[in-house]
């Protein structure tokens, strides 16, 4: 089966399952958000410091907030059906533009955090399995336990104190050096420097999860008969580990990673706030404080889409790792 055909099929299947859920979530959130006291007009008026009843009414009329609730919902759904996400009262621009400006940053953060979690976690777990019950294993177990039990934002704050404030190695706020007109490698290096700390904060818990999982499944694989078969062929131990053990041991790790993508997106809200990272997570927070529900609903919608697409990618990776899996 070709990878592309498989991807299409999985995407279709996921879409069928996910679309009704997404619409349900949108409707539910819509009503929940309307329960929150205040609306965008209130916030804008409060920030302006002075507003007459007439200007408030005009604002509400402009954003459609004067309509009955059900009409507002229908208007929103109608917009959605035409692939429009509406207009942001607070940022004074179309929601889709707003999200498109933030989405790449969040994607970059998630990608960096997931890669960091997988690479560091798998490496740590592998080392732990190789040295099982000896001092490198025991030492890493303690580190992993700390990562596992400490909230990511706290690790993030401590990392800021150490690497930004004390040592001055890494920037603590934003996603790039403002005004520095960089190109090529310098640009990439600049972005990477800004990525390190937020990715670490976001990844820390998952590093611990994958390290433990890799350790357990690596140890489990060592006991399998096919490992003895591989050794009986005269293969070098390193070849045996790389070619025969690792791929089998990674199957449970990728399964978990797929489930974790949603959690990662949730964690991004906190981490983006701590690090002033201009992503969708922070946008969501700003939308809540500004009562800008169009933006919030748009963020929710895109987040679900993101998780769906990421799951398809993980599913493909999984199928490559484990040929026993066939699409049903």
């Amino acid at each position: 089966m070709t990878g592309l055909g498989r991807a299409g099929r999985t995407l279709r299947r996921t879409a069928w399952q996910a679309l009704p859920t997404m619409i349900g979530i949108i409707i539910l959130c819509f009503f929940l958000l309307k329960l929150v006291p205040g609306d965008a007009a209130d916030v804008i008026a409060a920030e302006a410091g002075s507003a007459t009843a007439e200007t408030m009414a005009a604002l509400r009329a402009r954003f459609g907030l004067d309509q009955p609730l059900l009409m507002q919902l229908l208007a929103y759904l109608d917009n959605l059906a035409h692939l429009r996400l509406g207009f942001s009262a607070r940022f004074n621009m179309p929601v889709s533009e707003l999200i498109m400006a933030r989405l790449p940053n969040t994607l970059m953060l998630m990608l960096a955090a997931m890669s960091m979690a997988l690479v560091v976690g798998i490496l740590a777990g592998w080392v732990m399995a190789i040295f099982a019950n000896r001092w490198p294993d025991r030492m890493l177990q303690v580190v992993v336990l700390i990562f596992y039990s400490t909230p990511g934002f706290w690790i993030g704050l401590m990392a800021i104190v150490l690497f930004s404030v004390k040592l001055g190695w890494l920037p603590a706020n934003g996603n790039m050096t403002i005004g520095a007109d960089l190109t090529g490698f310098a640009l990439i290096a600049d972005r990477a420097r800004y990525l390190v700390l937020p990715s670490l904060a976001l990844a820390s818990f998952f590093i611990a999860v994958y390290a433990r999982l890799t350790r357990a499944s690596m140890l489990d694989v060592q006991r399998q008969d096919f490992m003895r078969t591989a050794a009986a062929k005269g293969l070098h131990p390193v070849t045996i580990q790389l070619r025969h053990a690792l791929r089998n041991a990674l199957i449970p790790v990728t399964t978990m990673a797929g489930l974790h993508l949603g959690n990662l997106l949730g964690g991004a809200v906190v981490v983006e706030t701590v690090y002033g990272w201009p992503g969708m997570g922070r946008l969501a927070l700003e939308a809540v404080t500004g009562r800008d529900f169009n933006v919030l609903l748009g963020v929710l919608l895109f987040s679900s889409l993101l998780v769906i697409v990421a799951n398809v990618a993980i599913d493909l990776l999984h199928a490559w790792l484990d040929p026993r899996i066939e699409v049903h």
Partner: protein, 329 residues
């Protein structure tokens, strides 16, 4: 006399909790099939793994030698051992379902061993693997090269394992209960294939089994183990005609059916009264608690393997007529 291809001398293997193989010795000559028989748990697999130094974690060779082709494998350096494994000495395991890597195509798993030992390129290894698959009876071999183990039945997987094991034309193939996990009809086919290949390639086979029917049909010589010790070894014909050790006699009696005909394949070894567990903590002969010929001297020390005739050894003071020696000691 031809020098044996494999000489196992006084091989002793233990786990941290105790010794499970006690001073086992046997020879395998070039081109022959030597059967290693004994009931489950008597140490056959552990012995086989020790020959290749592939013991499970915790197990250790505590003493003895494994002289293969003039090299003591029990003392060989790891890299020297790796050059021998898969090339002149190879292994087939009992469970065809788990002994192939589930995430790699079977052809690649066969090609791998030739690329390791013969340094041939990818294309040549593929061609040779397809030939090997045809040799072991996999039809449509060229297409099935890229299939994964889960596409094959148990019997077919064992054929793939055999192809892998004989890829570099080994001098000795160790087959640890190669048919135990298979259907009876498939068992005969796989053993037949092994025997064909043995003759074609001129290799010796160390056939581990608990099935006396298999021994009678396919082996040249037999070594019987009980509770981690060799109790009798002999060429197959004299062994089946006149077994000497009371345990071996019990086995043969147990495998004779009610109508007086031999039903080796349908009867299993543990139909002797008592169980191998009774050997635990025994100071003397491990079989003494179950033995009908037991005398007082049997409880004193484990009997040594004594020559009864040419190539016929037994570890029993009663059968060997050495009971007075034991009493004197």
């Amino acid at each position: 006399m031809t020098y044996p291809l494999l000489r196992v001398e006084d091989l002793t293997i233990g786990f941290p909790y105790g010794t499970v193989v006690h001073g086992v010795s046997f020879d395998v000559h070039p081109g022959e099939t030597m059967a290693l028989v004994g009931e489950s748990g008597c140490g056959k697999s552990i012995t086989a793994f020790a020959l290749m130094r592939l013991l499970p974690p915790g197990a250790r060779i505590q003493g003895g030698h494994v002289i293969f082709d003039g090299v003591d494998l029990a003392a060989a350096a790891p890299h020297a051992l790796r050059d021998i494994r898969g090339r002149s000495l190879s292994l087939i395991l009992q469970e065809p379902m788990t002994s192939l890597n589930p995430v790699l195509p079977i052809g690649m798993q066969i090609a791998e061993v030739m690329r390791r030992h013969e340094g041939i390129g990818k294309a040549a290894a593929r061609r040779r693997s397809v030939e090997l698959l045809e040799l072991v009876g996999v039809t449509d071999a060229d297409r099935r090269y890229d299939d994964f183990p889960h596409h094959f039945s148990g019997g077919m997987r064992q054929r793939v394992m055999i192809a892998m094991a004989v890829a570099c034309k080994p001098r000795l193939l160790i087959a640890d209960e190669p048919t135990t996990a298979l259907d009876v009809t498939i068992q005969a086919q796989v053993l037949e294939l092994l025997d064909d290949l043995r003759r074609q390639l001129g290799m010796a086979v160390l056939l581990i089994t608990h099935d006396l029917g298999v021994v009678a049909q396919w082996a040249d010589r037999v070594t019987v183990m009980y509770a981690g010790r060799v109790v009798e070894q002999a060429p197959v014909r004299p062994f089946f005609a006149t077994p000497q050790h009371p345990y071996a006699r019990g086995l043969l009696d147990a495998s004779v059916g009610h109508d007086g005909e031999a039903h080796y394949t349908t009867r299993r070894l543990n139909e002797i009264p008592g169980s191998i567990a009774s050997a635990a903590g025994e100071a003397g002969c491990p079989f003494a608690p179950r033995c009908p010929d037991r005398i007082a001297a049997c409880r004193r020390a484990p009997p040594v393997l004594t020559a009864l005739g040419p190539d016929h050894n037994v570890a029993c003071i009663v059968a060997a007529g050495t009971d007075h020696v034991a009493v004197d000691r």
